[in-house]
Structure formats: structure tokens, C-alpha cells
Symmetry: C3
């Protein structure tokens, strides 16, 4: 695992570059990330590009044998763009347009924003795509972080058009969404509302079918925007240079289908600030499985008192090719100002600078050039437990409850605590099942809160059980269809594998450890838990179902 | 007590109607409620009515010997109305207009909404007012639920006009409201603000006199809207068919004067979801006393594990003629989607279907036709304790405190816990005193938090005490006049009955059990409690004052 | 200490004036405050003044030998002003303009508001500036209370102009604010945003340099508005009559630089509602030191059960010339309605009326005429402990953290609890160091959370230590410069006095009682604590450092 760090030439006097890079190299840091917030330095005025400083920085990196990840700066449009076209600024769910002054202040669907994105990205790709110091492109920064959805009229109209392409006609939409409920039948697609918060004394959420589609639409908009940048970069960049983006997975709730996002990119990238062992392990396994290849850990914090141990664990996962700290030097100004990263605000090495230096020295660092995009270089331990992760089901959970604000993070958080923690505590690792075809070569499948019915996944589960594999699931699995509507007939899982009927629904757990039902299907054991099963329950059943296999 | 259920032909394929109605009839369910959210099914486009499906449903009901409550669909205006006239959509207290997508998205004062209401209601009344399956009309659904007040300019102007009719002139208003305070003297009625939330760093509420008038105005607007529908229905409906509305009493805070609302209707209707014995009992007694006749329980939940016991208690109150469950079948889609009501999502009977079937079989159900509007058919147990309920005082409590948001629900909630609970725990029931003339034939009168002075009620209390009746009151009774302004002279209650002066005000309770003062007036005992008396205090004094009478 | 009370002739029938004033005089109350909310009584319509009632009131005061503080009524502009020019109403940080109906509904920068302010204040000054009953002018009421900042376009443009006067050019601003961070480089001053709340799903705060300047700007706007009134009053008022304003210090967070505000006035005024001994003592010492002269306690509550004890403590501080109760009579109507102050709502004396009467009788009241503005009449006990209070540092703390809303009140609240409380518990009083030159004649200096580096203060601290004075400071002192940007070189305090380098930064406290470092500089002892030191820690070190000096 190679070590890197974010370090911003655009933030520091050029006279300090060599000092900083020498310190970096001395610590075994071989990758830098920069430029992802530097739009106004690259294009100080509309159409006037000034990227000579980047060329000088890349040359400096090369002098110090440091490879560079260049970020596209699109998460921070300059003041002149907001000023010249306010429709590039996003609108919140009360209809208020944000002002300039922070970051992610962009409507992905605004034509002016997309055009300006294309111009700056093409400029960067043409000028630096073949620079020898370039090791990867990073698109934007933490897409879907601060801005999870824009509710402006442009987005509303795009949503309506997008819907019109997904339904045979408005009648089909009405039927599938059940718009007879509360008199919401639409005559035309352009009557469908942008799901802004209601403005009444008791807020009521929007139709759950509309809301799930809205979340899918937002994900697709962000993914599409990201892929458009990838195409522009690729046009001027050799294939050997990977293109990625850094996703701040789960920390703010899960709102992008990472399978789609990373399927159009060469590498998955993760930003994570955690010092919990099981959480770090979860993300290492999960982010690997998104593309089924090692990923790059694009941001990790510098403040841990046990940093070397954490690096050992991350490297030991076998899933991480590079890990970049955020950040080498603290920022004296701005919203992320502070006094200590790997260097202190005075420019002197801090305690964890030395910790990293020792760590890289201890590890025989491989050549910095053997890593190509998508190459599987690690030998992950065999993983005998599978865990299904389903984005639709996660989003459906967001929308549960009377409140109109999606804030039930049970699904993404629950996959870590208690589900993954119950595995980690027993020394198990998980293979994540993100697609039906991922379900193979495991002994025990965990199927928690997968409320949306996917027939192909159901078939794969049936094959797993037919092959003698055990199954540990919650009581709500597959109860809804892809329209976020409850099925009125029992899915095959219930009829064939569990051998139960409608009386199964909603029963309170009757047994110990949240048990709802325990049965066998041939050699396979199947256990169904209540949806509120806790860490003790999951730990008990994981142990039980793995023990019996010995 | 007849049993019914909400069941929506407009939500289900016509092919399932007979199956559902047969199951209903087999369970002894003899009333259905439907159509109250079906505006877009009734009038798919402006002015084009399509109610043949209702006719077929009513015929189906009749075939199964089931009586129907038809709801007017005005709580869910169709998308085409919001689209054609956005002023029909309500505005919140920050000035934001709500969008389409939920329910109760209507400004009661918007001319277009009232006109469209008239047309759809007249159509329904003309077509179905004499249908033999019709047993009652339900107006709208839970008026004052999600939308408690609209702050749009139409409503603001209506409020100003309404005020101008209630005061001799603007000088009279200034004098009564004390607008010399904080320089709020008005020169004209049209200067009086819509009491939207202030937009400063520390929010300050509006003048309490203005706010109490605003709450009265909102109540009158909703009541007026309801009564306008009642008149339109009555014009084409025989007098024997009662007209009601279903009020979701107290659950969201008390904002409609139920005396006014139900005085213009034939029956009171209640929606309640509670499994607390004393709360159910409270509502049964209270809703009876609003019109002093039995009421219809229009919505009750289906999920209780002790449903038969609850039905026994409700029927045993002697105050409920019909109880309708919400709902017979679960909705697979929409904001109220779920998997189990009396039937499951698969269409099979669930546990409480059977519980109801047994309950109806056990009770010799009376003929379904002997219930006429307003007929007193029950024999309520004698109630020797009276409890004053005063809407003005309740609203005045909302407005207490520095914050501008009315959220102090002490009054309506406090009537249940602790006041009514202290009675229920001792096996007592209450007669609610909603008007001065209701105060008769009781031994003990409870007068909690009745802060607004009503001279007629004061006279009735004096007569009660003169007749030897006991009185248990809080320390704040009658301290304000109808303008929500503190009286500067002591009301007669204090001077004559309690024999005290201004030194009485605001004292902390000095005795045990929150006692402020205990006195006698002839044979009567009078006890005054601090306003924060708790369940233990109320229980003690109720017992004490009832015991002494033995 | 003379006793007074707020009493409003404009709120009561003229027939009651003599009764009230007789009661006042009988209780030894020799000062009244009135008129500060009476704009619509003074100027019922634009330009038509009616202040004869004030003249009659002043004559009545004189008859009763009561001196009057007249308040300018500018915190409550009349309805006619809001109506004629809505730009006089302030806008909040979501861009919403407030409506009429409460108080402080004024944009200080709105030209129409300033013009109307000038006219009413000049009228008052000309008519009453030489009235023999006038003892002082009070400007406005609790400036910066409800309205802490206006975010309207007028204020935004004024902020941009103000900034343009404080920086050499936009390049200078960009450099000092570090706008290279997040691509926030500005081309012109008029691109700098009004720092309204961001409207995204995850709110991000604005640049901390911008925010500190915004807080300074708001303070200067309010101070400038106040001083403009002072000048208008002084033009027609003899110099012997002091001009003050009543600041509701700290209770709502600290947002005005009181040094600036009171440097342009003759007296400091305080509004405080507290019954905590150490809090009252804190304010007495602090408000004295703002101008280094006794102040007037303009509002104190009437409800305490131990009022006489509190009066003894306040008088005993030696810092208060006059204390006015708020208020003599309760208001029956309006947002501050109630039933008991010194009189009850019935007009009869309440318990604390008598308490005050006894208190004034017990104290040989000095003549009411010997108090002139700025005269030091008290003999405060020697104060051997100094506490630095720095407004910039306080505001910088507000802006800490990720959230955009300044709500970290650690600084102003922390000065009371735990810092001042640790002194008070040991019988010590503080001399507050609000300017470098205040630092003299003390043995121990407390320097908590003074994060903004002030070289002059640093010099004074060095002199204090060189003179053998002890120093007790937190770990974050002087880390930032006046731009709210972290220093990249160690201030002299660290290099010379503490003898430490960059390794000092951010260490967790290593010793007992939050100790980070303990050292000596000659005879002086210096102790550095972690920023989260609690009451126990402060108490321990204050005792330790004072004990050693014996």
C-alpha cells in the first residue's frame, strides 16, 4: 500500500514547495493530491485559463519522485460563475436558492454549469493528461456530500422528462404509484411536483413511489455528471492513467448508487474519517466489492493516536492500493482551518509525520509504478460470509415514516452496526453482494432489510440455499416491488424457502434473540429475525449458523 | 354499537369488491366509509364528473346489506386545481406556499377552492343524496389536521375584514388589545399584520390579543367552510340522513371550536388512535357532551392486541352508535402504505378480523336502521363530576410563553393527563361543561386552567356552589378577559366565593398536594390548586372532595 | 445606590398617575424610566408629533420629586413606517423579511429608518433636553437583542463598502482571508456575499475571516446608529445630563463591542435578570470596567424571594449608582403581560414593594442630585486578579465548528462559568482587562480563550510577568491573527515566556487539573490549561497561584 497526502501548491508560497516536498519524500510519501478546489486559480476570469502554476507544481513533484492525482475543481465554482448565472446555484427543498460562499454550490443540471465544467475539464485534460507525474485524475470532490439534491425548476423539469421515459404513459405511472390514493392522479408528466417540503403545520411526506424515483433520479444525475467528466478526461489521457472520484461513503447517508458511479470509472475512491476497527474494515471490504478490485483510499485523517495500527489494518485488508492522508499541512484560513496535520501550522513535522515515516520504512514499499487501474494485487483472505447491500432498499428505508425528511439511516448505518460488527467481532470478513451474480462461494448469507424485491437476487438466494448455504434474514425482505409498493402476492422466497403465507407478516419476534422463524431447506438452515435485531442478536445467529457448519 | 370500516372501492379492482364485501359482512361489519380522498376519481378534469363507479359501489354495498358513509373529497384537491390556480394552495407562517403532493393543500378562503368545493359537493349530493345505501355524509377529512392555519394574503385580508366587524372602530381595538405596548397602535384595520413568524435572531411572538383573535378566526373559517358543505349536502339529502365530519380531536393540538363545528352538523365524529383506557374513556365522554348525544367513532386503529376489550369499553360508554375501523385493507402504495389491517396485504383475514367477527357475534347487533341523527339511544351511567372545557382558555394557553410558536398543549393534554385520569383511576366519569348551561346535576366541579373569564360560566359556578356543590380549581381561573388581557379587577369568583384579594395572585402553592387555598362557602368546599398540580395532587383532591360527600 | 423603576405613563390612565407616583415615592423610589417604546404615541402619524403627554408626565414626576430617564422609542417603529417603507424591516439569514408586530423590526442601515430616527430624537431632545425632571437619556432599548444582524441587500452593499475601506484592494483581502481555499477569490468587493445560511442538505459555514468581519461590521453598525442618536440628543441637552443605553449583556450572546458602544456615551447601562450571586457580581465588575466608572443598572427583575439580599450585594459592589426595577406595574396586555410586579395587576402593593420600601429606608439615601455622569462615588475593594475580556476572541469562538450558525457561547458564558465563579467562590473579585492599558496593579492574570493575537496586549502580559505577576491561561491564546487566521509563527508569548515551540500546539492536557504546562519566568509563575478546563480546574489553579503569593 502506497502512502500519499493531499498537498496544495495553490495554497502555499512557491518558495515553500521544495521544503514541503522534501519532507514528504523523506517520510515515504509518494503520492500527492491537489487542485480539486482551485477553479478560480485555474480560470481567474471566464475563459482565461492560468494553469502554469500547475505545470510548475507537477515538475516539482517529478523532481521529488512524487506522483500526482489531479482533481478537477468543479465542486467549487468561482464567484464569477455564480454572479453571471445564478441558475447555476442549487435550490433547497423549501425553494430557497443558496448563495456563494461555501462549496458544492452548483446545480448539476444547470446548462451553464455543465458547459463551464466541460471547458475547464477539457483544458486540464489537454494540458496535463500526458504529464509524466500524473498518476490519476480525481473527478470533483465528494459528489453528493453537502448537496444531495437540487430542487430548482430546471431539476424539476428534468425529473419530469426522466420519468416520462420510464413509464409507458402517465396512466402507467398512476397505476404503479397508486395515485388514486389521496387524489394524486396526474394528467401529464409535467404536473408531477418537485418533492419540496410541504409548508403546513404538520408536514406530510410525498408519495413513496415518487420519492424513490426522486432518489434514483438524483443519483443518476450525479453519476451522469461524473461520467461526463470522465469522458472528457479520457479523451486526452492515456488509458493507463486511471480516473476516479472520492466518495465520502455513508458518512452523510447513502444517496448515490456506487455501482453505477464507479462502473464508469477506473477506480473506486473512498474518503473516511474513523478510528473504529470494524468500521474501517467494513469500508475496506465494501469499497473493494463495489468494483471487485482494490480501491484508493483518497482521504484519511491525520489525528489518530494509533495511526500505525490503523495503517496496518487497512493495508492488511489487501484491498487498498494507495492511502492518502488529508492533509499534509494544516490550513491557516478558510472553513477547514486548523493548527496540526502531519506538519504543524509552523511548518514543522508533528508526531504523526514521524509515525508515517516509520511505517513506510518498515514496509518494503513496492515500486510506485506497478499499480495500474483495476489490477488485483492483493490476496484477500477467503470470505465465507456474504452480506447483501441493495441501494434501492436503502433508499426505501430513508423514506419510511410519516416525516417528509429522509433521515432514517438504519440501512447504511445498520450494515455497519450491528451487522458488520457482529462479523468483525468473530474474526469474520464479509463479501458484499451488490449484484445477484456476486452471490457465490459463501457459506452464510446475511440479507438484512432488503425490502425491495429483486427477482434475480431472489433466484440467486434460492440457488445459494439449494446448494446448502445458510441464510440469515430480516422479516421485511422483498416485501416491496421496485415501485416502492408493497407486493400483494408473497415472493417465492416466502412460499418456497420459508414455507409460509400471509400470516407471516408483521408478527412480533416470538423467540429468543429476535427470532421470528427458523427452518431448514435441505441441508440449509434459514433464520428470520425481527427488523430491530440488535448486535447481540446478530452475533448469536452468525455464530450459530457458522458453528453448525463445522 | 354497530361496527364499520373504511374501505375504498376506488382503491381496488372492481373484481375484488364482492370478495371484500362478503368478508366484511361475514365479520358483522355493517357500515363502510369511502370516497373522502377521491376527488380526482370523481372529477378527473375540471367540470367533467365521473361518479358511475360510486354508483356501482353503492349498489354493491346494498347487495351486501352494508350501509355507506360517503365522504366529500375536499381534503385532497386534484393536481389540476393546484395547477390552474396556485392561490388555492396554503401559505405557512414563513410566507412559503406549499406545493402539490400531500393532502389538506387548500386555502379555505381561496375563492377558486370554495367554488370547486361547491360544485363537487353539489354533484355528489344530487346524485347520491337519496341512494338507499347512504347512511351518512362525512364532510372533508380531519379538518384542521395538517393545515391548522393559512397565512396567505387572501387570509390576511379576510382576517382584517373579520376584525373590523368585531370592534367598534380601530380605536376600540387599540384600547382592548393594549397596542400602546411596543408602539403597535394601528391607524386602520388593514395595517394589522398576518401573524407570521418574526424573522430575527430571537423570535418574539405577536400580541396575545391578536393571536387569540387569529385562532378564533381560523376556527371560524374552518367551521364556516364545513357548514357551507353541510348546507350544500342537505339541499339534496333527506333529513333522516345525518351529516357529520370526523375530527381528529386533540391529537395535534386543539384548534377548532368543536361546539361551533358540530352545532351545524347532525352528528359528531371522532378519529382516535389510542390504546390507553383513560384516554379512550375521556374522548367517549367528551365527544358525547359536545352535542350531548351519541357520536360516531369514525376512525379507530386495527392493530391492538387487546381489541375486543377496547370495543367493550367503547360500547360500554353508551356514547358511541357506530365505530368504524381504519381500515379494512392495507394500502400497498401511498403515504399510508402498510401490510396489515383487518385483512393482510395478500387479501387474507388477519388476527383482528377474527377478533371483530367474534365480538360482533357475541353482541346482539341491533337493526342497522334504527339509528337516526341525534337520537339518544344509550343510558350513560350517572356522572357526578363535571369538568369545564373552554376553547378560548385552551387557545390562550397555546399562546403563553415568550416563543411565537403555539406549542404549549398543557390545556388539551392536561385535561386527559392528569385531570381525567385522576377521575378514571377512581372509577368516575366526567360530564363535560362546554357551555354554562351544561353545569347542572353534579356534585363536584373541576375547573382547571380556565384562564379566560366568562361571566355566564362564573354565574353558573356560583349557583353550583350555592347549591352545595364542591369546586376544585386551579389558581389561574378567570384571570383574563375575552381579549386575552389580564383583568385589573378581581372577578366575583375570588371576591365572593373565595373571599380573597389581589394578594392571591401568583402565590406558590403553600400546602401539601399543590394546595393554594381551601375554604367553604356554606355546605360547599372549594379547593384551589397550583397550575402545575400533578396526577397525585388531582387524585388526592378528587378523592377528598368526593369522600366528604358520602 | 439610588432605586428606580420603569413606569410608563403612556400605558396607564392619567387619573392613576398620582396614585402610582405617590406609592413610588413612599417606597423610596426616586427614578423612573419611560417612553422607550412609545413612538406611535409620540408621532401617531408621520411628522405629526404629540408629546404633550410626556410634558405632563415629567411635571408629575417633578411634583413627586422623582427623576426621569427618557428613552428614545426607536426599538419600536410604528406600523405606519413599516407600511410606507418595507425596506426599514430587517431580513434574516434565509433572506426573509420580517413583518410588523413585535419589536426591533428595523434595519439600522435603511435610510428611511435613520431619517425617521433623527426626526423623532431631535424632537425629543429639543422639547425635553432641559426639563428639570430629566436625569438621563436612554437610547433605544437593548440594541442587538432580538435583532443581532440584518441580511438585507442594503446591509450587504454597506458591508461590501465597509470592507473596501479596510483593505488596500481586493487582492489584499484575498490574501488575508486565504480565499484560494475553496476557490473563493473575489475580483471585486461587490462579489463578496452576505453570509446568509447556505441552502444545501448539509449546511457549511462561511469563511471565518469573512464572518469575523461581518460580526465587527454588525457591531459597528449598531454602535454607529447609537452614537448618531447620542449626538442628536447632546445637541439640545446640557452636558450634566448623561446619555446611556441599556445593554442586555451576554444573555443572548455577545454581539456588540461594549467598549466602542459606551465610549461614545456618558454611562454604561445594564439589563440583567439573574438571581445567581456570582453572575450578578460578574456583571457588576464587568460593566464597571467597560468604562472604568460606576454604571446604571437599568433593568432588574422584581420577582426574587431574596430581593433585599441581592440589593445589598449590588450596592456593595460599589459599582452601581442607580438600579431600576423592571417594572413597577405589570402589563395586562401585550407580549410581556403578567399579573405581578412591585404592584399587582389590581394596583395594590405586592410583597417586593414592601421589601424595597424597607431597603431604601434602611439605607441613608444620598441626595438624588449629587450623581453626575462618570463620577466615581464608590470605593471598590482592591481587586488583585485580572481577567482579560476580548471581543474579537469571543466572536472568533462563535464561528468555531462546522455549523454555519454562531451558537458556541463558550466565551461569554465561560467567563462567568467557570472562570468568574472560581474567583467568586474564593471571595475574590476581578478587574477586567478590556484594553491593554487596563493591565496593571494585579497579582494574577487570567487569560482564557483569548485566541486572537493582540500584540499590544501581549506586550502588557509580558510586562505583567516581568513584574512578577502570575499568569493562568488556556492553550489557545493568541493562536490567530486579527483576520481570524492561524498564525504561522509562534507569538512572543510562547517563545519568550513559555519557552516552547510548535510541539506545544493541540496537545491534550497531560497533568492533573487540565494542566498543559507549568513554568516560571523569574518570580512569575505561568500555568497553561486545556481549553476545556472546568470549574474544579480553575478553582484549583486560582487558589494555587494566589496562595503562593502569600
Amino acid at each position: 500500500m502506497l502512502i500519499g497526502a493531499a498537498w496544495y501548491p495553490e495554497y502555499h508560497p512557491e518558495a515553500q514547495w521544495d521544503r514541503d516536498l522534501s519532507l514528504m519524500a523523506a517520510a515515504g510519501i509518494t503520492t500527492v493530491r491537489f487542485a480539486e478546489f482551485a477553479w478560480s486559480q485555474m480560470e481567474p476570469e471566464p475563459g482565461r485559463f492560468d494553469t502554469d502554476w500547475m505545470a510548475r507544481a507537477l515538475d516539482a513533484f517529478q523532481r521529488h519522485r512524487i506522483q500526482a492525482v489531479i482533481g478537477t475543481p468543479t465542486a467549487t465554482p468561482p464567484a464569477w460563475l455564480a454572479e453571471s448565472d445564478p441558475t447555476t446555484l442549487p435550490v433547497d427543498d423549501t425553494g430557497r436558492r443558496t448563495g456563494f460562499g461555501t462549496r458544492q454550490h452548483r446545480c448539476y443540471n444547470a446548462p451553464a454549469y455543465r458547459e463551464r465544467t466541460r471547458l475547464i475539464v477539457e483544458h486540464l485534460a489537454r494540458r496535463f493528461g500526458r504529464h509524466p507525474a500524473l498518476v490519476a485524475w480525481q473527478i470533483d470532490n465528494e459528489i453528493g456530500g453537502e448537496l444531495k439534491a437540487c430542487y430548482c425548476d430546471i431539476c424539476g423539469a428534468a425529473f419530469q422528462r426522466w420519468l416520462s421515459g420510464r413509464y409507458a404513459d402517465i396512466t402507467d405511472l398512476n397505476r404503479r404509484w397508486g395515485t388514486q390514493f389521496w387524489s394524486q392522479t396526474y394528467l401529464r408528466f409535467d404536473q408531477i411536483p418537485i418533492p419540496r417540503k410541504t409548508a403546513m403545520q404538520l408536514m406530510v411526506k410525498h408519495n413513496p413511489s415518487l420519492m424513490l424515483e426522486w432518489m434514483r433520479f438524483q443519483s443518476q444525475v450525479m453519476v451522469g455528471y461524473c461520467h461526463e467528466q470522465a469522458a472528457a478526461l479520457r479523451a486526452s489521457t492515456p488509458a493507463a492513467i486511471p480516473i476516479l472520484t472520492n466518495y465520502d461513503a455513508f458518512e452523510w447517508g447513502e444517496n448515490i448508487d456506487l455501482r453505477h458511479m464507479f462502473s464508469g470509472l477506473d477506480l473506486a475512491g473512498l474518503d473516511l474519517y474513523s478510528q473504529k476497527d470494524h468500521e474501517i474494515a467494513f469500508y475496506c471490504d465494501f469499497m473493494h466489492d463495489v468494483k471487485q478490485q482494490p480501491f484508493w483510499f483518497m482521504e484519511y485523517g491525520t489525528g489518530s493516536p494509533k495511526l500505525a495500527t490503523e495503517l496496518d489494518a487497512i493495508a492488511g485488508s489487501g484491498h487498498v492500493d494507495r492511502l492518502l492522508f488529508f492533509k499534509f499541512r494544516p490550513f491557516p484560513w478558510g472553513q477547514e482551518q486548523g493548527t496540526r496535520e502531519l506538519l504543524t501550522i509552523m511548518g514543522t513535522p508533528g508526531p504523526n509525520y514521524h509515525a508515517i515515516k516509520e511505517w513506510t520504512a518498515r514496509h518494503a514499499a513496492p515500486s510506485t509504478h506497478h499499480i495500474a487501474a483495476g489490477t488485483e494485487t492483493s490476496r484477500p483472505a477467503r470470505r465465507r460470509v456474504g452480506v447483501v447491500y441493495d441501494f434501492d432498499s436503502s433508499w426505501s428505508r430513508f423514506l419510511t415514516g410519516w416525516s417528509g425528511v429522509p433521515q432514517d439511516l438504519t440501512y447504511p448505518r445498520g450494515l455497519i452496526d450491528p451487522v458488520y460488527k457482529s462479523l468483525h467481532d468473530q474474526g469474520e470478513r464479509a463479501r458484499f453482494v451488490l449484484r445477484p451474480e456476486d452471490l457465490r462461494d459463501i457459506e452464510l448469507l446475511l440479507l438484512p432489510w432488503t425490502v425491495i424485491h429483486d427477482p434475480a437476487l431472489e433466484d440467486a438466494v434460492a440457488r445459494h440455499v439449494a446448494g446448502g448455504g445458510s441464510l440469515l434474514m430480516t422479516q421485511d425482505v422483498f416485501l416491496k416491488n421496485r415501485d416502492n409498493v408493497f407486493n400483494e402476492t408473497l415472493p417465492r422466497l416466502y412460499r418456497e424457502l420459508l414455507g409460509c403465507g400471509a400470516d407471516f407478516l408483521d408478527h412480533e419476534p416470538a423467540g429468543a434473540h429476535a427470532l421470528v422463524r427458523e427452518t431448514r431447506a435441505g441441508a440449509a438452515r434459514i433464520v428470520v429475525l425481527g427488523v430491530k435485531a440488535d448486535l447481540g442478536d446478530w452475533t448469536h445467529w452468525v455464530r450459530e449458523l457458522l458453528r453448525k457448519r463445522v
